[in-house]
Symmetry: C2
Subunit: 211 residues, 2 copies
């Protein structure tokens, strides 16, 4: 099996690559800029730009993890072009090449942008539209909707029930990466959407208790 990680140069992407190696897999890492630190890990790095052509990156792969995002430093035009349009194009290509599982790193608020965090409503809308496209396009999917991301070390504790208190909707990037790697190739997680925050349960139990 070959897994393509789109957005491998991002913070969660790098953690996913590391954890896939720890699991004994050799992922393919799609990056926009040279990523010597991923190459040093032994990853099969492929240059690809979500705003251009990137079908070559997906050919020969069975699974895709989409963890690309334009980030907070660029404008909302890039949220449109990367987080939403880039994701939609990745799904279209994934259908063409027969991808068996498309794992989307989505976000809290994507289920209902009007009632999510107001400051990132435009971002939540773009994530929702990408998620809805994934639900409708026929690809086997797994959608993770983590809370606000932290750079603290992994806690190993999870919950798939988003707390009402927005301040408590937090999770470390390491834990998100671990959940993503766990879902990969796990048939129980196919065609499921998981809200995800740090909590009290082991990962498997937290996923099983999701609505």
């Amino acid at each position: 099996m070959c897994t393509l990680v789109i957005g491998a140069g991002g913070q969660i992407g790098r953690l996913i690559i590391e954890q896939l190696f720890q699991k004994g897999e050799t992922p393919r890492a799609m990056v926009r800029r040279p990523a010597p630190e991923l190459e040093a890990l032994g990853a099969d790095t492929v240059r690809g730009d979500l705003e251009g052509d990137f079908v070559h990156a997906m050919e020969g792969c069975d699974r895709v993890i989409f963890t690309a995002g334009s980030g907070a430093k660029t404008g909302a035009d890039k949220t449109i072009l990367i987080d939403m349009w880039g994701a939609i194009k990745a799904m279209d290509l994934a259908r063409q090449v027969g991808i068996k599982q498309f794992v989307m790193i989505s976000s809290r608020g994507a289920e209902d942008p009007d009632n999510g965090p107001a400051a990132i409503k435009h971002y939540s809308v773009c994530k929702k539209i990408a998620d809805d496209y994934l639900l409708a396009c026929g690809l086997p999917y797994t959608i993770l909707r983590p809370g606000r991301l932290l750079n603290e070390p992994a806690t190993g504790g999870f919950s798939t029930h988003m707390p009402a208190d927005k301040e408590a909707q937090i999770i470390t990037r390491e834990d998100v990466a671990a959940a993503c790697v766990y879902c990969l190739g796990n048939p129980a997680t196919l065609n499921r959407i998981y809200p995800l925050v740090n909590g009290e349960s082991p990962l498997e139990e937290a996923l099983k208790s999701a609505d």
Copy 2:
């Protein structure tokens, strides 16, 4: 019949209101800010905000014209929230209240953002997603995709074949408004998409010759 014009305070919106009056109709004008000039025309103005609740504006209407847009002066976050998300919410409400025709003022490039004008690609993506939602949501629709908009007087000449030369992809706002008003209630224009620029043909002929 009652027609709701969403975005009636915009440049094309005002022209549509004027032309509907000239045709003997009394449109309802949804505006975000007070619009004394529309009230002076006799329009049934209703305050409504696409970023908030506006179902009250649509109740009792049979047709909707969506010509709202955040414009070039605000950021791409507003393109997401108004042009795309606001449009999607308007369509959802239109389905709820049983609207018989939803006329969308879309844009050139919305059919294929990757090959449209590069500077407005993020805008074209948002317009495409709104258009695709309209195609899929089950509402009877008419979509107009005008070229670059001019404030010159109406020419009365049209073409529905977008010229390859992007500089020639132009049309006056008055002509777009005229096309919109013509399509309203015209069963031949239901479930059709019309590229639209100024050209050599009368409107009816130009629409009939569309692909």
